[in-house]
Symmetry: C2
Subunit: 341 residues, 2 copies
Amino acid sequence: MTQEINPPVRKQATSYDVARLAGVSQSAVSRVFKSGASASAKMRKRVLAAATEIGYRPNAIARGLITQRSNMVGVVISRMTNLYYPELLVQLTQAFSERGIRVLLFTLEHESEINVVLEQTLQYQVDGIVTAAILTPAQIDMLSAAGIPVVLYNRQAKHGQAAAVRCDQETGEAWLVAQLIASDHKRFAIISGPQDSTVSMERTGGALRHLSDLGIGDVTVVAGDYSYESGHQGLLEVHRRLGALPDAIIAANDAMAIGCIDAARHRLGVDVPESLSVVGFDGIGASRYAAYRLTTVQQPVARMTQATVEMLLQRIAQPDFGHEQRVFQGTPVRGHSARLS
Amino acid sequence: MTQEINPPVRKQATSYDVARLAGVSQSAVSRVFKSGASASAKMRKRVLAAATEIGYRPNAIARGLITQRSNMVGVVISRMTNLYYPELLVQLTQAFSERGIRVLLFTLEHESEINVVLEQTLQYQVDGIVTAAILTPAQIDMLSAAGIPVVLYNRQAKHGQAAAVRCDQETGEAWLVAQLIASDHKRFAIISGPQDSTVSMERTGGALRHLSDLGIGDVTVVAGDYSYESGHQGLLEVHRRLGALPDAIIAANDAMAIGCIDAARHRLGVDVPESLSVVGFDGIGASRYAAYRLTTVQQPVARMTQATVEMLLQRIAQPDFGHEQRVFQGTPVRGHSARLS
């Protein structure tokens, strides 16, 4: 859709207009509006009064063209079927905002659209990018060539070729598997996340590996898409395939674990956890609802967000800061959705 | 926090560099990169090859300074204790994105911070603003003076002095109240949302008015904050105050209704809906979980989002388009959390 537009001419007041009205120099006006620069309280008051009177406001974008910084960062997230992301988004936006940096938001239907979005973030001259979608080595090279620092959120950089913050999905799954096996669970099924989600691959792959290490090789895996509904359907599919329920279901996230529990209780009339254990991953709000009280692994969102913001700002300030991987351990939550001894 | 930064000098390729390499005119390069302008497939291929070779990309921000448009809109939302907003945010971002417009995201801890945020959105020269926080007449005047169109989302403009899209909260509550009264509920309590939420005021006020119209004047109101936990605590507080439970709880949103149900079942051992009816508002994902299946009113998010995007684009294209209020009716959901006859 294209629209021909004749924009209204906005006559904008300049810092010189403010200086004239306030009876001060233009550089004094500049100092008042520049964060971190000094100006006396009296000067500040005088300049702000004049600015308000004539409707002056500093143009952040024009300033960005001069300083080569836009004070904007791009945040790229996948469509939020994983309920864990909205929380992350609010925390990231607030952490950047406290440092005077705005978030330009990009959403993907599928992780495969990342190329188009990267091109757009560059057009907007963002100072850096946080992405919760996977980047190929070629994409990382493109950003590097453009001088745009990037931090991968919950994604691994191949060969460590980018800064990354993530939760240790595999160790989290190892804890869940160890608990279930120690409590005499023998037959397992897994409900995975979307095919193109690397987090789901790490979780599902991790669970399978640990089960195999502990002598359990025959595990039914059903594909979900991180949604409650797919967890619900996933359990029914496991039931159909096996002709019975296993001892435990390992769901690749909490929303699907909740769907499983509801399907067991309300469709199959099976008690959770007495007759079926269900475990999730993430620690979303609903995992604490009294109806579920999930056995899960809580991602340390606040610490991961803080680390992401710090790492991106370091790399914006010092582009040669180098790559670093920060891996946070999730917090095991025993909950009440698995029969643990 | 201020950091002194020496940005790396990025030598950026210009459209003239691309034109020289491709052996075409600069205006041909311009046409290839301008959406909606015509260029032959052959020309497009030649220009894109040259652009890729020298790393050229059009600068959206510099272009914005020339066209007086930044192709960015500001979206202002309150901190997402109301689980309904993340869904809205994704839908808005995608609808704008399909039209080549990016979303600059602003989050508020409290609606009272709106002044600071408005000043910032103006500094970034956004083409327009969607706000889910209330604006005072003075703030609307400020935006109007700056020539920035605004659409209020789920907020009413005083005296109709702004474009607004909202769900008819009061009619939704009227439906809920009428159903409950027709099904012989006599004693009511309300759990409201945060004090500074106008949506909560409309819902709570609407419910009280309709109850009063139907002869029920004595209603206990307990303050919540839209969170699950506050719904849980709210029910216990109602129980303490009355020394018993009422026939029905009207919660100002679904998250609190779910908290109420869990408190009734898991703390007080009371059956929902047999011994207590609980109704919510919003139609969030969790309202459809089999453990709850809420009686609620579903906001038509997709239609409201579509209307918001259309209205904002109309006003960016034609600043004198004038104000308009679009009010959408929610969809009643009978659910299973209220004992309806």
